[in-house]
Symmetry: C2
Subunit: 231 residues, 2 copies
């Protein structure tokens, strides 16, 4: 006994029909009630399976119009953005970090603009080098809005990295994230032990609480870093 037909089975069978070419890109697939009859399960079960496949970008659904196989198969990729500590430790190395900078100063204009800070307003600037064993792993360059996170001013970032401190002290919030490539500046290169001008993979993240920017962070990875995921 046990599982009759679970929504997982439905997902597998639908995916199989798509991958076998029985339901090619763009094809209209049977309605939920028909699939429910065919597989001998409730419509709700079919609904959940198709809904999840649609969320993954494999199907496209519209009321009344029906469900069709997506024309653009690989539309969505879900990346895990790991805590740096965990990412390093999962590679088998020991994570260490070194505090390079921790002071109030005036951020560059483009960062102030993105954070919505008035020009000339100072913010807390924290630079941390993360290392895997003794090799540089990535450089974290963070600006913290003192108005939005006043407790940060008295935190000891030498003991706990700024990344982890924020996770533990600032509630979950909204924001944007960007992935890009940048040539290493001379300073970046020296810190990361890379050639000047080397291509660095960079993640920039802006975090907000209720419209107000809390922190802007730029993480530049060592040359050769790849961020990967399945499809």
């Amino acid at each position: 006994m046990s599982r009759l037909t679970s929504y997982r089975d439905i997902k597998k069978m639908v995916l199989d029909r798509i991958q076998s070419g029985a339901w090619p890109p763009g094809a209209l697939i049977p309605r939920e009630t028909e699939l429910a009859a065919e597989f001998g399960c409730a419509r709700a079960t079919i609904n959940r399976a198709l809904r999840e496949l649609a969320q993954a970008g494999v199907l496209e659904r519209r009321r009344k119009a029906g469900t069709r196989v997506s024309m653009t198969p690989v539309r969505k990729a879900t990346l895990d953005i790991p805590l740096i500590r965990r990412e390093v430790e999962e590679s088998g190395a020991t994570h260490r970090h070194r505090l390079l900078t921790c002071e109030m100063s005036v951020p560059p204009a483009h960062i102030a603009a993105r954070m919505g800070l008035p020009l000339e307003r100072t913010a807390l600037h924290v630079q941390t080098l993360h290392m895997a064993d003794s090799a540089p792993y990535c450089l974290e360059d963070r600006w913290i809005n003192p108005k939005a996170a006043p407790e940060a001013l008295s935190a000891d970032f030498a003991a706990l990295s700024a990344n982890e401190w924020l996770v533990q002290n600032i509630p979950i919030s909204a924001g944007e994230i960007a992935f890009l490539a940048e040539n290493a500046s001379d300073a970046d290169a020296e810190i990361l032990n890379a050639a000047p001008g080397a291509a660095l993979f960079v993640v920039e993240r802006l975090t907000r609480i209720a419209q107000e920017a809390v922190t802007h962070v730029r993480i530049a990875y060592r040359p050769g870093y790849r961020m990967t995921t399945g499809i």
Copy 2:
């Protein structure tokens, strides 16, 4: 009348409690039955709301242990990987492409290895430059396994880009995707009209049907490209 309590409302309210700090990172939140009683809805509704929040990485759930607020808030980002044509057109420009190469040849060893091809085995090599209006946008460098997609050999990639041809002719399938940064080679630089050595944002994608590699594609974007998403 209208909506009493939808799972969307529940999601909003739960998110609100998390963002307001009422439920800090790591906190155990009430059980589904309690929330259902509090919000006056069915447990299934609570379940769907919490399940989706967990899928987004905001909550972590374990049977019997209960549901708690994730310690690492921004754990997952879902990127849309657009068709290049659509991406260009959404920026308001006209998409054009130019076929640079289309011939059978022996792929570099690292690509042959990743595709699981025997050394010295030839594959179809298609290079396409995508343009936004008349400016270079990205360079698509694709290898197609002739065994897995024999119809590709006779396709006319000058008319339809290889990207779009594959989408329309190959069923949806599994694979891996990687994001990285690379310095532009002299050839890249000339084609993309960039400085040699410029940092390029690169997406590499390997697509498989039933274990067998169908195509490997490397897309190198013009300097300055950012791939962005909300959190």
